[in-house]
């Protein structure tokens, strides 16, 4: 029992490291995503530089989360859609599907967090930074990334099986991530207003619960997608 658990953890670690090495080896993907993020932020900056005072905190929050949402969907979509055809058979022969999905979720979580914080930095530099409660905002970015990674990784697996997978990915993912987004937008507003943290506690616990439920569902359901 103990041995098998240890072995699983080791496979997990290997798979995770594999994703990381692959990413670092062909830097085109990650630099493409960063460029995507940068150009979106820059367009916002250029548009609003015409009339600086019009970017109210709520507009800022809307622009920020839209940018993050699109970047995240693009990032996570590639986790299964970008895979070469024969490669998944190889993975199947060396690892359990549970290890694969968990390693992908952890890896996507890491990538999304990095991209989100880069996005936040860009937005704070180019537009202004209306966030009063920085600590809470960082927490909410991390939790939102976790939710995105957990739900979108499974959907990427589903979409990769169909033809026209990129359109399908967008169609499937938007409604699903909205429940996460609704909470984050609400808490972002609390952060902007600098409200007391006790106001947001309930929302954060709910977000955490949704994250756990979605991760558990991905873990349970992924073996069935994998089989085809």
């Amino acid at each position: 029992m103990y041995n098998s658990q240890k072995k699983n953890l080791q496979t997990l670690k290997h798979l995770f490291l594999k994703e990381l090495t692959l990413e670092l080896r062909r830097k085109s993907v990650i630099s493409g995503l960063l460029l995507y993020l940068f150009s979106t932020a820059f367009i916002c900056y250029l548009t609003f530089s015409l009339r600086q005072n019009q970017i109210t905190p709520l507009v800022w929050s809307a622009l920020f989360w839209i940018t993050i949402l699109f970047t995240t969907i693009n990032t996570i979509a590639k986790s299964f859609i970008g895979e070469k055809k024969g490669r998944d058979i190889y993975y199947f022969s060396i690892a359990s599907p549970e290890a694969i999905i968990i390693s992908k979720i952890i890896y996507n979580f890491l990538l999304t967090v990095i991209l989100s914080f880069t996005g936040f930095l860009l937005f704070a530099l180019l537009l202004k930074n209306p966030i009063a409660d920085l600590g809470l905002f960082c927490l909410i970015i991390t939790l939102a990334s976790m939710g995105f990674a957990a739900s979108l990784t499974l959907l990427s697996g589903i979409a990769s099986k169909a033809s026209n997978s990129h359109i399908l990915m967008t169609v499937l993912s938007f409604p699903i991530v909205i429940s996460v987004l609704l909470i984050t937008v609400k808490v972002t507003k609390n952060c902007i207003d600098g409200l007391d943290r006790s106001v947001s506690t309930n929302d954060i616990i709910t977000l955490l619960a949704i994250n756990c439920a979605v991760t558990a569902a991905s873990y349970l359901l992924f073996p069935y997608i994998w089989r085809s």
């Binding site: 739900s151 499974l154 959907l155 589903i158 099986k161 169909a162 033809s163 026209n164 399908l168 169609v171 499937l172 938007f174 409604p175 699903i176 909205i178 429940s179 609704l182 909470i183 609400k186 309930n202 929302d203 709910t206 619960a209 949704i210 439920a213 979605v214 569902a217 991905s218 359901l221 069935y224 997608i225 089989r227 085809s228």
Partner: protein
Amino acid sequence: MNKYKLEWWKILTIVLLYYSVIGGFLIPVPRLHILNESIRMNYFHVPMWFTMMALFTYSLYSSIQYLRTQDISFDDKAAVALKVAFFFGGLGLVTGMLWGNATWGTFWTSDPKLNNTAIGLLIYSAYFVLRGYLEDETQRGRLSAVYNIFSYLVFIPLIYVLPRLTDSLHPGSGDNPTFRLFDTAHNMKLVVYTAISSFILLGFWFFTLLLRLRSLKKIHDEAV
């Protein structure tokens, strides 16, 4: 030609539906300020959501069964149940909008309960898009079952948890967290319970009809 005999539960459905429609319009209701006669919408609006949830849950059960047994008939059941549930969800929205227009003065407000329900139905409409994209039958069954289970999981917090965390105009959300069926007047209870059970039966009836139509179509396609 053999004579078609109506099954007992279908007769029961008809009787109960008659009772809830006639009783819904004629049995006296409490006089409440602003609500007035629009309170009768309760008899038709609430059962729609109950029916929708019952069918969504049945669809979830069928999807789980499909993943366990790989029996394609479960996939048909899940898809058909979802279709009927979606129809009742649409009716629930329409009746709710009519009621909202009578009491709030607009068909739609930016209320968490309303918006989240619309998003919830959007999640399920993506299910049909997904089915349309997939050609292979077993693959379609498996992937759409996975999506169905997944979306049920997102749907529940979206509709039943999140609106209660914020202020909501909708009865039964926001400040009044419980469903106030037990506080309602005795007359209303009679009709509401009947209406809920009769519409669930009606939904199940629709479901059986559509399921039969689907299997007949399949047989027809195979013959051609």
